[in-house]
């Protein structure tokens, strides 16, 4: 289980616990549950790399405590 921090730089900073073998899509669902936006409207990025929904966190090498950028579609 890892904990990821998502920050949208406008006031929303969210810590989400998830498994490493989960996809970005699942992470978006968890974030949506915590922030109240819809999962389809969330975009997770790291600099200009937009993370795709079907790839797992492990494959993106997202580790515990790592910060991701939260954007909206």
């Amino acid at each position: 289980m890892i904990e990821v921090v998502l920050n949208d730089r406008l006031g929303k900073k969210v810590r989400v616990k998830c498994n490493e073998d989960e996809t970005i899509g699942d992470l978006k669902k968890l974030v949506a549950a915590q922030t109240g936006t819809r999962a389809e409207n969330i975009r997770i990025q790291k600099w200009y790399n937009i993370y795709k929904d079907h790839i797992t966190l492990k494959d993106y090498e997202i580790h515990d405590g790592m910060g991701l950028e939260l954007y909206y579609n």
Binding site: K17, E22, L30, A33, R38, E40, N73
Partner: protein, 349 residues
């Protein structure tokens, strides 16, 4: 200039009508070529021509959320705000199904509750196929009546959040609407008679299915349930005088119930026997816990038997539940509960 709402337009739901579409989606539409080229200077008449050329519906798609022409036309309609008669004409026309859906969508966004039900429900009888563009860019097949059902029941469609719609039941109670009469009503009545003649087969199936059936069956469903309720009630009566159960449920002592539920691991064993209806489960628990002194002999014997059988199992049942919602750490347990509700596996520690 092209993006401003018509100054003569009324406020919808207390705000600029274009605000019904969210800011980000709106910006995407303004920047799209279809909007810039085709939707410039459209009036109600020329909009009809554009609407006739539509061949699919949808919201935004792709990684950068491009809007579909359907969505652009919706925003255009919100901008110019056509008269209600024109919108009704859109809906009534039979030849162009996308024009119909466009009108229906606009009415759902801007019309009053009564109007929405009155004009959209006849469209349930339209079974034509329509093409829908999904958010990943692929097309999928759907039907007009499925689209209407989505409009009436869900609160989000084509990337636009739908305004709140009063429940049909409320409007019927206030006398603003007639109870729904379906075109298939006669067929249903025939089927009901046949069922009655064959004996009451699969009434439980009927009830389980109720969330899928259309609203006009509510009346029939209610009468079925009322007819069968005395049977259920007798069973309750035998088990225990459980007015407390209803009291607890209604007064929302849910947290207490959850805690008790977590403690009662042996209950799991009875899950198979109980058909998984929470109410019955709780009833049994409370019966076991509380009514030992109150219950009649038959009940007492039953409780004792079940308890004896459960005692040796109790030690084994202390192990965790599969979805991890009873983890000792409350934070983890809560996370697992959320995950279970989203359909995900529990956290791996």
């Amino acid at each position: 200039m092209a993006n401003r709402t018509d100054p003569l337009a009324k406020n919808i739901r207390g705000t600029n009508p274009q605000n019904l579409v969210e800011k980000i989606v709106r910006t995407k539409i303004y920047q799209h070529t279809f909007w810039k080229e085709q939707c410039f200077g459209l009036t109600a008449e020329t909009l009809v021509d554009k609407a006739m050329e539509l061949d699919h519906l949808g919201g935004t798609f792709g990684g950068n959320r491009k809007p579909t022409p359907f969505l652009c036309l919706i925003l255009k309609m919100l901008q110019i705000q056509p008269e209600k008669e024109i919108v009704v004409e859109f809906i009534k026309n039979d030849d162009y199904k996308y024009v119909r859906i466009l009108g229906a969508f606009y009415l759902r966004l801007t019309g009053t509750d009564v109007d929405v039900y009155r004009y959209l429900e006849p469209l349930y009888n339209d079974y034509r196929k329509v093409r829908q563009k999904l958010s990943d860019g692929r097309f999928s097949l759907t039907h007009v009546d499925e689209v209407i059902e989505e409009l009436l029941n869900k609160d989000y469609s084509c990337d636009i959040a739908m305004p709140r719609l009063k429940k049909r039941w409320t409007l019927e109670q206030n006398g603003l609407l007639e109870p729904r009469k379906s075109v298939l009503e006669d067929d249903f009545e025939e089927e009901e008679e046949k069922e009655e003649n064959e004996g009451i087969a699969d009434k439980s199936e009927d009830e389980k299915d109720h969330h899928r059936k259309s609203p006009e069956r509510e009346r029939e469903r209610d009468s079925d349930r009322r007819r069968d309720s005395h049977r259920h009630r007798d069973r309750d009566y035998d088990r225990d005088y459980d007015m407390d159960r209803d009291y607890d449920r209604e007064r929302g002592r849910g947290r207490e119930r959850d805690r008790e539920r977590d403690r009662d691991h042996y209950r799991e064993r009875d899950r198979d026997r109980e058909r998984g209806r929470d109410r019955e489960r709780d009833r049994r628990d409370r019966a076991r816990r509380r009514s030992r002194s109150r219950s009649r002999d038959r009940k007492r014997n039953e409780t004792d038997d079940v308890r004896d059988r459960d005692e040796p199992k109790k030690k084994k049942e202390k192990k965790m539940r599969e979805d991890g919602t009873d983890h000792p750490d409350p934070e983890i347990a809560e996370q697992n509960r959320l995950r279970a509700s989203l359909g995900m596996k529990p956290l791996k520690m």
